[in-house]
Subunit: 153 residues, 2 copies
DNA sequence: AATGTACTCTATCAATTTGATAGACTTAAT
DNA sequence: ATTAAGTCTATCAAATTGATAGAGTACATT
């Protein structure tokens, strides 16, 4: 399950990506637009800043902006920062591997085999999808919706 | 993340599958062999029984056994029983859909699109892998290991 | 019918995680 | 100096997770 933290993060990042290069955006602005508790969002953005996803400027005229281009920020990275490893079991995590206690032989553990598949499938998607990719998909669909003839399914 | 509950369940089921048609197995036997707290395992098995995955017999000579053939029990089913929906967000769950509050337009939500992909990839794996499949894979690898020439990587 | 075995059910609990809030502090622009 | 805005640390309540306890019920055997 994606935590609220990670979900809020993605919501905020999506706005920051959409308005990339239009100068810093205020926390409170982001919080209002996405209906996120403001103080809670602060913590999230701070964490993202620590990991280079965001940069910020203090004082008047300050705010947050992306630390790198929207096509260089991958969902996998963001989610790992806020929710930890993508893997369903620590013993199949690439970024935070940990041996299962009491697993006699990791190589022949059936549960592990399947969970590794799940981890790989998840990572394949989230580590290849950037904020820019998401935006593109949203725009394509939004345009389609307004352009499409009525009464379609 | 897979909970301990679900992991314990799969461990126990794997044994019950391996020894399918050899009569009921005691909770305490399963608990010992997999080093699972016995009372905790009771709850898990009971839950699986409620959902038809297991059957049981009380009294002397009793114990638990699979409610259907190992090739008809899918990991997706087991995990959903113990951990709830596979989907990272309720709004992309097939089995427990719930609208996000405050999502203006579900159809054009970028986060949702990607999470739907993740859910589908996960479900594709877990809903197509049965206990029998897992067993087969384990056996294949176990045999390989003992048969393979030494000093290989 | 009595006994013992083994699953069943309900309650409870401690620890952890999650989502959220509060307030003092620092930096920068005017 | 003043005001705007991010930073940092602490704290909290609620929910979830992992686990334990004990009384109850069904069944087989003698």
């Amino acid at each position: 399950m994606l935590s609220k933290k990670a979900k809020y993060a993605l919501q905020a990042l999506l706005i920051l990506a959409k308005e990339y290069e239009q100068g810093p955006i205020l926390i409170s602005n982001l919080a209002q637009r996405e209906r996120i508790p403001r103080k809670f969002l602060e913590l999230i953005l701070l964490e993202l800043k620590k990991h280079g996803i965001l940069q910020s400027k203090k004082g008047k005229g300050g705010g947050y902006f992306l630390g790198k281009s929207p096509n260089a920020i991958y969902l996998g990275h963001v989610i790992r920062i806020l929710d930890g490893p993508l893997a369903p079991l620590p013993c199949v995590s690439q970024t935070a591997y940990m041996k299962c206690e009491e697993c006699q032989d990791e190589k022949t553990c059936g549960i592990r085999m399947v969970m590794k598949e799940v981890r790989d499938a998840t990572a394949r998607i989230l580590d290849s999808t950037s904020l820019a990719d998401m935006l593109k998909r949203v725009e394509r669909l939004t345009k389609q919706q307004t352009t499409a003839p009525p009464h379609r399914r």
